[in-house]
Symmetry: D3
């Protein structure tokens, strides 16, 4: 007789059926950063998840950060960090280092994905003019080559997806003078999700999700309607780091991304768990258009 | 913290990665018959398996039998079965009933597949002249409208796969005078696997597989090289029913089907278990070309 | 010198020119039923006509009935017919028989078409979810698995036409629970003509056409404007059987089918005569959009 | 009751079925010249035939001459014809007139075809470098700008057929210096039939066909095997004008044109009669590859 | 060291960069007539220019006249010209000659272009029904087969451009009875530019361009806004021959042609000079949509 | 009158015609390194040349080095260079820096190309597994992560060219364990030229070309047949640095690259001068297949 263990395995695969079906050929943009990027085992689990999503029919796009690596190398190179309003001032030489490091991280991800048998292509927002940026000011103060996305030219991403590659994007763009700018990876992921009409946008973070009351760990919100975001922010219920992320979520949902996921990147396979089971990992943000698919399961 | 159960689920999905990768866009012909067809729960598990194979990127084709239903209805209609050499003589009226019943079974499978969200199309070997047949004689004796496959015109199957349908084929063909003939479902599946250059051919049977010594239940052969088949047959080690099946296996492997599986259709999800895990269910037949993929896992 | 007979033949072909030109690559849905289906010689003439239409550039689709065969086999199987308001009550077992018989008829047509060298594919409304149905009530009374068309998913028909097959459709659909329903063949033909944006819809009937005065055989209407249908019905000038057919005509014309033909299927080659000559066989129904093409000839 | 006349018409259309089927999407090159070109009624019948062939699925290409018109205009312009070995010497000014007249004839044919509703495009062998020629000598004597086909660049014809136009070709080519040369229309038609892998090549002539004995009008050969041509010529059984035509036939058949027809262009609709009936008009030349299709009818 | 001459050459090529870039894959219709057509050296320079435009990525279409040749041949043939309001009356025989001559000119251009290695196809407005015309009256007086463009069916031009041919069009069209009409080449070029959504329309003329004051050779207008045309005409500042040309310009600009050039065809390579340098040759007419591209260079 | 200067400009463009024609849609691989990379003005001239080549119809691919930058940054980071046989030993941290720097250079080139209006995409040999490498030993000694090309998977380059991007490749590959390896840029360029069936391969160097006698500056070889290379090397006539380059040339020519150019990258626009004029800059290496195109000009 066949061992129960095997039958259980088959059941797990069968359970994934409706999710695989629902998201077939849909684009999912994964913002990859935080612990999931520095812990080797977590890294491997994220790569495996993304590769699996691709193989079962999704069209994933990875947008990655690299903050800690940039700091580490800047230090090595004797570049002293300067901050204005808590944001790192990105002068010419910092920008140069940032670009080098982000590209290094980018190609390392490419190699890791390819070692699992899927062909990846690492690009930055400069390739094919993917990300056009303009200088971003912090409360009116110049903080250097920090850019905000002005426009997206998604042709290169579309072509790579059509040609069956898995695109890995590093968040550097150019302004009208073709100078490089560092772009916040969350913002870049959000801009690409909008431009590519993604079905999903997932942020891998170092938090469990969004809380009703940040002091109460039991108040984690599983599902948040886009309308509730303004309230949550104005009530002072969410901390500083979460606010721009929530504004990105709002922006994405309003531009027809069906669902945004704020996931705890510290949990192995959090992407698979969120997408293929009805056990919510973190917080899902959705709008009116989203048919309550997960609830029906 | 996330429950271990969920992490285990994620692991199962991750384990399926190399198999999904390997068989992406490959054609698998599934001969569906026996208990797996009469037991409702088993039927559902087979349908789920095939639908999952399709969703993760395979191109499955179902070829089904319907022997028991034909007998049941023949009886209802007062047609007295006649046998020569243990083969049912198929006169005009038996053929008429057989065609009706097989088409009924065919459309029922279509409905079951569609209820899981995949579009299926049920055809017979007459559609688009898929199966051209000629009369088959049993030791020189005429047994009526029993056909053997003379040629295959695979265009309709190719078109349906391109158009993303799941084809369900009932094993009836036509001779040069456009008369209907009943074809053995194993033979039809084998002919289609060859004509479609399938990667795999899987027979769902009511046996556990092939035994070295049929009297010793522990002698089940997990993996059989195509070269060993002749020996096995001439040694008298395999029973009557298994011989034509093994000859089909031999034929398929020699025409570049990579691997043929003789599966125990009585085990739920036997298709998934065989394809997605390295736990062999039944007997796999393979030739020299097949790289020992499963062994390496 | 060349015999006059041959020159006359050439003339007939030349006369067909404007019609062939006009209807090149247009879809024509042919509802095939009645005597044309039971008389062998008439059957052959219909098949020849449809095959010729295909070869000279039309895209014909056949929708067939099978009422008499169903009655004959129900009787054989000892199923006692029940009627409500003159409509056969279709219980589970009647539906089962109906489906078997219609599929048998379907595949027989496929074989006949293929014997003339054109590749046909026989499908039912269940394949590719072509016909989604809902239960139809007769004056509020439940008459079983008799369905009315709720929606059409024409992809399978479109794909078969693109792939150069001649589709033969048997009028069985599924409800939302994937149960089979018998659909009136006229209604199915009408629904498919609308969904496929057919140029023409032709009903082969056992009548000469529509009469102004059913008692006066000389009052046959050659051409009927869609606006006149309501009047004709309310005046009591058309008999019971014709009313639903005329409502289908009305429905089709209003959904941009250019012309509906009610033909006398008892006349050999009635389809060719109606389409390729300006001798009207039966009654043509047309709307305002239809340019008076035939009149100009 | 329907008039017998109409039923007969239907029968004629049905009789055309196997021919339409056989030659579907096949290329037929028609050399159009002689009486069929000067008699207005015959012209119309040829145009109708070619248009019908196109509409029922052939891909016809017309190659036309224009000898009589050239003579008429040369005279008008006071150009005195010179002959060597019975071939008109084509000096610079004769070539100029010939090109003007052939193009005039070409565009007139285009207009006539379009008046029947089919889009035609008139080109010469200079367009797209369709016909590259070299000077032809008559027994070593220079006869001016008379060319023989050196190579064919069929791209423009292939593109026009793909784009659904009916190409009309006037037989003028260019040499390596891009000077215009007059090419014999039979030779041009033969060269194009070979380069386009035509199924058929038809010469409209002013003769009834090829005779075994030119003095005996009853000795018309209906079907001639390509092997018999050499014999026929060496026996002196065929007249001077027919010899180059027969050599073209031989050349075409040996380059895989299935059948060449030498037709009597003075018979209205001779093309249709030859192709759509088994009554041979003129002489058909065929090789071993040609399956005896007409005989089986 | 490399000679300065070569470095200068490289600079010229580099200077052409922005122009090549800007007009990549854009359609430019060139009306070719006047001295540029009768002087052999100028002819060669125009052909070279057009061929270069094609090779660097433009999609040029040539529309040519042939007035002088028509007069010369009419005379030769003893046709006495008749004029009404200064326009040649085009009777049947004049039309016949005109068509012959224009086609002769057309094929000569084709040969010249092909001698430079680009494949050209010469068509008239009759091919593929490119130009449908109606009779044009001069102040109500019938001047024969002189047509104005009623509609354009651009399919043949689109197909030729897609298939990478350079189309050469002679300005003859047909009316609804399929009779040939002579069309003014400027008007034909304008109609085709509009129908093909051309980027540019260039008239090669025998004038330097448009003058503010025709008596003052220094008053040449380099750039004219479409709004100024009406004024210029009503002020009597432009001569008779220029008025219809300016109305064509106005018409073209208003139908989204970006820029119309009235060039001095007597200057060698005037097309290249106008398009690839910021030295204006003649007068450019433009509307509001045109971004002042040349000015920025 | 038009200034002679402008007419001269037109002449230069016209002179480029045959070269543009000849190399239309051909692939040219440009190895970009040396002074042309460090001098800003030369950089700009190379970028302009490549952009122009693309715009007039070539399909250029850039492969770049970055040696000097790598040294500069290694120093900055306190990595002490080690050499074996004059080759830098590439340990883990050197490889890390090399990858960062080469990617930085890569993206800078992308930005510069895009500032000229052409869309570029910068990839490394890791993307899409373009370059698979294996460890290269120097006389049997391990010199670290220095790779030689084992195989090329050109799909990503083919796709980028099809999608109209200009690919910029940095010469880093991966071994079977997906570890990064530095590849000599000349070797990478040669491997890609072979795999892409390039028409041309051009090396921008800091030498004038190949000399018969390195001591005699007048002995520069303009054109070298591939057969002469072995001789040249064995005679000791070429210096150390040139030998591997010449072996690459030999390899490329033998794999059907038509012509390899060793250019003096210190001359502005050396690429244009070499390709668009018959003035040889440096040395061209060619085989038997190359038709002596330049000589005929």
């Amino acid at each position: 007789m066949v061992n129960q263990k095997y039958l259980d395995k088959a059941e797990v695969l069968i359970e994934a059926l409706p999710y695989i079906q629902r998201f077939n050929r849909k684009i999912i943009v994964v913002k990859y950063g935080g612990s999931a990027m520095t812990d080797e085992k977590l890294t491997r689990s994220v790569i495996q998840d993304v590769v699996l999503l691709k193989l079962v029919g999704f069209k994933p796009i990875i947008v990655h950060g690299g903050g800690k690596e940039i700091s580490r190398w800047s230090e090595k190179l004797g570049i002293k960090p300067q901050f204005i309003d808590g944001i790192r001032v990105t002068d010419e030489s910092t920008m140069e280092v940032a670009e080098m490091i982000l590209n290094k991280v980018n190609k390392k991800l490419v190699a890791q994905i390819e070692s699992l048998g899927v062909k990846a292509v690492g690009i930055s927002g400069k390739d094919g003019q993917l990300l056009k940026t303009q200088r971003k000011y912090s409360n009116g103060k110049d903080i250097g080559y920090v850019g905000e996305v002005k426009s997206v030219c998604p042709k290169i991403l579309q072509n790579l997806l059509e040609d069956d590659f898995l695109p890995v994007v590093c968040p550097i763009g150019m302004d009208d003078e073709y100078h490089s700018y560092n772009v916040n990876a969350d913002d870049a992921a959000c801009a690409l999700a909008k431009a590519m009409s993604a079905e999903k946008l997932a942020f891998l973070t170092d938090m469990e999700g969004v809380y009703k009351d940040p002091k109460n760990p039991k108040s984690l919100i599983s599902e948040l309607h886009v309308r509730e975001i303004d309230n949550l922010i104005s009530n002072g219920n969410v901390g500083g780091g979460m606010i721009p992320k929530l504004l990105d979520c709002q922006d994405a949902i309003r531009h027809h991304v069906s669902r945004v996921h704020i996931l705890d990147g510290r949990i192995p396979h959090c992407l698979l768990l969120e997408i293929f089971t009805n056990k919510g990992i973190g917080t899902a943000i959705l709008g009116d258009e989203e048919k309550r698919f997960y609830e029906d399961k």
